[in-house]
Amino acid sequence: MSDEAVAPPAALRPAATAPRRKQLRLPATGLLGGAILLLFLLCALAPWLIAPYDPLAFDYMAIMQPPSWEHPFGTDNFGRDVLSRTIWAAQVDLQIAVFATLFPAIFGTLAGCLIGYAGGWVDALFRRLVDVIVTIPFVVLVIAIVAVLGPGLLNMYIAISAVGWIIYARLMRSEIIAQKKRDYAAAGRVMGYGRLRIIFRHLLPNAASPLLVYWMTDMSLAILLGSSLGYLGLGAQPPTAEWGVLIADGKNFMTTAWWMSIFPGTAIVLGGMGFSLFGDGLATWLRRRA
């Protein structure tokens, strides 16, 4: 049976029936997304082991070489190996994926929980704030903030965080509002538990799965945004290898050296896909488990 081939070894297998085991496994697309992410994670953690060349080393004997066995992704206008630069860039881009979403996710979750549970005028105030912020396109707002703070990765994180937490807060607010009406929340109050205990111990774990899924999606968005800002020269600064920066570097040579932009571009697409598929799979898995 093909199912058995991918199942974990007998020792790890829970004593459950076959259909249940199948239900508890991440769906195939999710596994694919996970595999892509794992590959990129490997590139990010130990690029020196995987990349064949130094990403910053110029080689004037091999400028703008098309893809070959020696340089699978070709070389750029300084003779730098595009494959090596793309691999090293994974480090920067995964870092963007995590750092640009970590603060918004944590702070937004805290804020959303408290706002959702409090309700009343706190909630009304928050809804007005959301109304105002969503009228301004997200990217435009981030670019405006970066323009004020000055370009660079740190300022980019600050800009994305300043705006991004709102979305998490909105998501958690609605989840908490739905959860706080459930009987177990009332049961917690009956037991004499305090507000914070009810919110974070009882409601949050029940409301966390959409959060996790959105976080995954948001990481892919962060990579795209980070690359866009890098492309515009507002994010990672050259010579740091970052996918957006690599594409920008190659854009002047599109007609003569397409490989300079196409391969980093493919990496962005793959990375975004990896997070999306994994997030989707995670959502399905959490739904089935519930």
Binding site: Y184, A187, V190, M191, G192, Y193, N206
Partner: protein, 325 residues
């Protein structure tokens, strides 16, 4: 001796309507009080008002005396100590009242930690004892189980174990068996009675099932449209009802001795709390109503030993009952 819990003219007002008004009840130590009434008669609201669990829009009037102390004026910190610690509550739906993502054992130890300061291995041991006490087999292994792994009856048992964790003196059971099979109902009710004796608690059993009341309660209070119609010892109320509504309820029960008889229901529906009739709230549906019934609300007055009724025709009803007997 002062009663454990004493409601004095308790009223709940939400917006312009008053779904509960002027409810006075006593719960003695070691007593099982049945709170009976149709849907919407204010049973659950009354229970929630005791623990101040109503939405902020609800206004509570009157007094809730817990061992002589008024809970309605207690600060938030004080009421939290009472909740769970002294008065616990079990809900109708064991499916939803347990937190679905936390193991059952953890939900018990949480209460132990909060109210008794019991943590770690000691809390674990106590949790096993509690699960054992409520009749969950193989309790030690069940600590790590999630609510969805339990059947309905087991969940209600687990719910009771959580409620009893802090050793409350009073258990408010809000239709604890309504969502369960009849056989499980019986088990849960027997369990409640056994635990009441073992733990020296009082129980308020909210229900609309008179059969449940007859089998378990020492005393009954009949609620209709947010008011107490009649209270008295269970035995007395079932054999000598002194309120037309109680009589109507008893008549609407199927009688095994007269199988295949048409049921004698009470005509009409309970009044809308936004448009209550003047006078006795039951008068529009009452077969015994006289002109005086529609003029003003009859007060709850003693009609016999330990029996009180808010019916102008209580004396007639009692007399008729004596003749029939």
């Amino acid at each position: 001796m002062t009663p454990l819990l004493s409601l004095r003219g308790l009223g709940v007002r939400i917006g312009g309507v008053a779904p509960v008004s002027g409810v006075s009840l006593d719960v003695g130590r070691g007593e099982v009080l049945g709170l009976v009434g149709e849907s919407g008669s204010g049973k659950s609201l009354t229970m929630r008002a005791v623990l101040r669990l109503l939405p902020p829009a609800a206004q509570v009037t009157g007094q809730v005396l817990w061992e002589g102390q008024d809970l309605t004026t207690l600060p938030e910190g004080g009421i939290r100590k009472v909740r769970g610690g002294q008065i616990a509550m079990v809900f109708q739906e064991p499916m939803t009242a347990l937190n679905p993502v936390l193991p059952v054992g953890l939900q018990i130890t949480e209460s132990l930690g909060e109210h008794l300061g019991l943590r770690g291995a000691a809390a674990r041991r106590r949790a096993v004892e509690l699960l054992d006490q409520v009749g969950i087999p193989d309790a030690a292994r069940r600590l790590g189980a999630y609510p969805h792994e339990f059947s309905g009856g087991m969940r209600q048992r687990a719910m009771i174990a959580i409620a009893l964790a802090a050793g409350p003196k009073l258990l408010l059971a809000d239709e604890p068996t309504t969502a369960l099979d009849v056989t499980i109902q019986d088990q849960i009710l027997k369990l409640l009675l056994r635990l009441k004796d073992e733990l020296d608690m009082s129980v308020v059993l909210v229900t609309h099932d008179l059969g449940v009341v007859a089998g378990t309660c020492d005393r009954v209070a009949v609620l209709y449209a947010g008011r107490v119609m009649e209270t008295g010892p269970t035995e007395r109320l079932f054999t000598r009802p002194s309120h037309a509504y109680t009589l109507g309820l008893l008549h609407s029960l199927p009688d095994a001795a007269q199988a295949r008889q048409r049921l004698r229901g009470i005509p009409g529906v309970p009044p809308d709390p936004a448009a209550l009739p003047s006078g006795c709230r039951f008068a529009p549906r009452c077969a015994y109503a006289v002109a005086a019934c529609r003029l003003e609300q009859p007060p709850l007055v003693p009609v016999a030993e330990a029996q009180e009724s808010a019916c102008l025709r209580a004396a007639d009803l009692l007399a008729a009952g004596r003749e029939a007997a």
